[in-house]
């Protein structure tokens, strides 16, 4: 069950990243670039969760998980602060 959830989350954030990238390429609005990078980060975060907990339960990737989460969220936060106007 957990693996399905993590796969779903990975795919969803990947889809978001792809849609945002497409919109960035057509509009060149910087917020969309930050958002794309952020969702790529979230996709990695979800992927790591999947790898960490399902594929290699013996290896602890929690540092990388929290690192990708923090980076992804901060990129989006800063993008919204700077470029949402």
């Amino acid at each position: 069950m957990a693996s399905v959830v993590y796969a779903l989350c990975t795919l969803t954030s990947g889809l978001c990243a792809a849609l945002l990238l497409r919109a960035y390429l057509s509009s060149r609005a910087r917020l969309l670039l930050w958002s794309t990078l952020s969702f790529v980060g979230l996709a990695f975060n979800n992927l790591l969760l999947f790898v960490d907990l399902i594929v290699f339960p013996a290896i602890d990737l929690s540092l990388y998980r929290s690192l990708t989460a923090a980076i992804a969220v901060m990129i989006l936060m800063l993008g919204l602060i700077w470029d949402s106007r």
Partner: protein, 84 residues
Amino acid sequence: MIEFLSGIASAGSLGVGLFFLRLWRETSDRFFGLFGFAFWVLALNWFLLVWAEPSSEHRHYFYVLRLVAFLLIILAIVDKNRKH
């Protein structure tokens, strides 16, 4: 270090959620509301990670939260494409 990073992720997504909720009010586009709540759920997820030292038997709480967050995002996207 992990707690610190999760704290950043949690506070950050709380802020991101606030941003989206403000955009919801400004535009009355539900899409932003759904994204806002999704990021608040993620904020809760990472906040609990700081506190809970998640040993594997508690993990299912976390993936339920994550599932809720991403279902909200999926719902927002589906809703966006259903209008018109």
